[in-house]
C-alpha cells in the first residue's frame, strides 16, 4: 500500500504540490490526469524518492520514503518506474540493459539474470531485439525496454510517467498494449497519462490534478461520465 499524506513541494517560491492525500492499494490501477504543470509527474517521482518533498509523508508498505533511516536504493526495487523520455542505457545491448541492475544491484548470477531478462523481454515483445543496442529501437520499443528493465527487478508497484507522451502516434498503441497486459496480470500501477481513453479503460480510479491539488477523484465512469467540478468538466471536454 502506498500512502501519501499531506505532501507539499515547492521549487523556490513556486508551490507545485499543495497538500496531497492519496492512498493506493495493492492491485489497484490509478490514473493521474490533469493539465501540464499540475504536479502529477512531480508527485510520481516523489513516491520513489527521485524528487524530494517539502513537507508531509509518503509511506510505501509501511516504510516512510523520506525517513533518514530508510535505504532508498533498497526501497526503489519495490517501485519500478518508466519515464517519459526514454532512458535506455545507450552503451549496452537491450539484454544488458535489463540484466545490469540484476547483477550489480541484486547480485543475481549472470545466467539467472539472462533468464529473467529473456522472460521480461518476451513479456513486452522485445526478445527478438535482445542483442541490439537501444539506438536501433523505435521510441515505442525503447519504452517497452524501459518497462522490461523495471519489471525485471520484481517490483510490487509500477509507476508510469507519461510514457506515451514523447511517442509518435502510431507507436502509442504498442506501449498501451503492454500496459493493458500488465494491468490484466494484476500489477499495481500508477499512471500519469494524457491518454484519456486509455485511463478510462484500465484505471480502477482516476485522480484529477489541478494546480497542485487533487481537485477530484473517483472511478473512471464518474470522472469522465459525470464530472462534478467545472474545471474537470472543461479538462475532460478539451482532452476528448
Amino acid at each position: 500500500m502506498i500512502e501519501i499524506k499531506q505532501v507539499r513541494k515547492s521549487y523556490g517560491s513556486l508551490e507545485v504540490l499543495k497538500g496531497i492525500d492519496l492512498t493506493i492499494d495493492k492491485g489497484e490501477v490509478v490514473a493521474m490526469i490533469g493539465p501540464s504543470g499540475s504536479g502529477k509527474s512531480t508527485l510520481l517521482q516523489c513516491i520513489n524518492g527521485l524528487e524530494t518533498i517539502s513537507s508531509g509523508e509518503i509511506i510505501v508498505d509501511g516504510v516512510s520514503v523520506f525517513d533518514k533511516a530508510t535505504n532508498l536504493n533498497h526501497l526503489r526495487r519495490k517501485l519500478g518506474i518508466v519515464f517519459q523520455s526514454y532512458n535506455a542505457f545507450p552503451h549496452m545491448t537491450v539484454r544488458r540493459n535489463v540484466t545490469l541492475a540484476l547483477t550489480k544491484v541484486l547480485g543475481v548470477s549472470r545466467d539467472q539474470a539472462n533468464a529473467i531478462a529473456e522472460t521480461q523481454l518476451q513479456r513486452v515483445g522485445l526478445l527478438a531485439k535482445a542483442d541490439v543496442y537501444p539506438t536501433a529501437l523505435s521510441g515505442g520499443q525503447q519504452q517497452r525496454l524501459g518497462i522490461a528493465r523495471a519489471l525485471a527487478m520484481g517490483p510490487s508497484y509500477m509507476l508510469f510517467d507519461e510514457v506515451t507522451s514523447a511517442l509518435d502516434p502510431e507507436l502509442v498503441a504498442e506501449v498501451l498494449a503492454t500496459l493493458r497486459q500488465l494491468s490484466a496480470e494484476g500489477m499495481t500501477m500508477i499512471l500519469v497519462t494524457h491518454e484519456m481513453q486509455f485511463a478510462r479503460e484500465v484505471a480502477d480510479r482516476v485522480v484529477f490534478f489541478h494546480e497542485g491539488v487533487i481537485a477530484e477523484s473517483g472511478p473512471p465512469e464518474q470522472i469522465f461520465g459525470n464530472p462534478k467540478s467545472e474545471r474537470l468538466r472543461a479538462f475532460v471536454s478539451r482532452a476528448g
Binding site: N73, L79, F83, S85, Y86, N87, F89, L100, K104, Y133
Partner: protein, 221 residues
C-alpha cells in the same frame, strides 16, 4: 667549424634507448591509469559536489592545469625535502604526472559528464543503484566514449611529459639520451634520435586509440 655527424654511436646505444623508452611508456601508462581513476571523483566533485569537496577538487584541477609540469615534478622531488620526504626520481615523476593527468582528465570528464543526459542518472538510481554504482556502470562508460579522443591526446601529453624526468636524473628515454650525449658529445644525433622515437610512440598510441575506439555506444534520443 665543422661537425661530423655520427649516427653509428646512436645505433650502438639503441638497446639502452629502447630500455629508456620502455620506462617512459610504462610511466605514461601507469600515471594515465591512476589519473583516470582519480579524475572521475574529481570531475564529479568539481561539477556536482558541494562546499569543501568542490573547493578541493577545483583547486586540484586549477593547480594541475595552470602550473608547469616541471614545477610539479620539482615540488615532489625537491620540495617535499623540506618535510623530510625524499622520493626517488621515478616516484617523484610518477606522482607528479598522476597529479597532472588527473587534473587535465578531470576537466575532460567534466565536459563529458555534461554530454550525458541527466535521465541516465535518474534511470540508474530508479533501478536501485547508489550514486557510485550509477556513475560507475551507467554514466562514466558513456563519458569515456564521449571523451575517448581527448583521453588519447592526454596520453600523448603524459608520454611527452615523462621527458621532464631527465632533469631530476630519471633514466627514461630523455635521461638515456642526456647521459650518452654528455659522454659522446653527439648532442644533435641523440636528441634527433629520441625525437623520432617519441614521435613514433605518440603516433603508435594514436593509432591504437583509433583502432580500439568504442563504437557500440550511441546516445538515446
Amino acid at each position: 667549424m665543422s661537425y661530423n655527424f655520427q649516427f653509428g654511436i646512436v645505433l650502438d646505444a639503441l638497446p639502452d634507448l629502447m630500455q629508456g623508452a620502455a620506462l617512459s611508456l610504462s610511466i605514461a601508462i601507469v600515471t594515465m591509469a591512476v589519473g583516470i581513476v582519480l579524475a572521475m571523483p574529481l570531475a564529479v566533485g568539481s561539477w556536482n559536489g558541494k562546499g569543501l569537496v568542490t573547493f578541493l577538487s577545483r583547486s586540484w584541477i586549477e593547480l594541475a592545469r595552470n602550473t608547469p609540469c616541471l614545477a610539479q615534478i620539482y615540488f615532489f622531488f625537491y620540495g617535499l625535502g623540506a618535510f623530510g620526504i625524499f622520493l626517488s626520481p621515478w616516484l617523484a615523476v610518477g606522482i607528479a604526472l598522476c597529479f597532472n593527468n588527473a587534473g587535465y582528465l578531470a576537466e575532460i570528464f567534466r565536459g563529458g559528464l555534461k554530454g550525458v543526459n541527466a535521465n541516465q542518472m535518474k534511470g540508474a538510481r530508479s533501478l536501485g543503484f547508489g550514486p557510485v554504482g550509477a556513475y560507475r556502470y551507467v554514466v562514466f562508460p558513456q563519458v569515456f566514449t564521449n571523451t575517448f579522443s581527448s583521453i588519447g591526446n592526454q596520453f600523448i601529453w603524459a608520454l611527452l611529459n615523462t621527458s621532464l624526468g631527465a632533469l631530476i636524473g630519471l633514466y627514461d628515454l630523455s635521461g638515456v639520451a642526456m647521459d650518452y650525449q654528455s659522454r659522446t658529445f653527439k648532442t644533435f644525433e641523440f636528441f634527433l634520435a629520441i625525437a623520432v622515437i617519441y614521435f613514433i610512440l605518440a603516433k603508435l598510441v594514436l593509432f591504437l586509440a583509433n583502432r580500439f575506439k568504442p563504437g557500440g555506444a550511441r546516445h538515446a534520443a
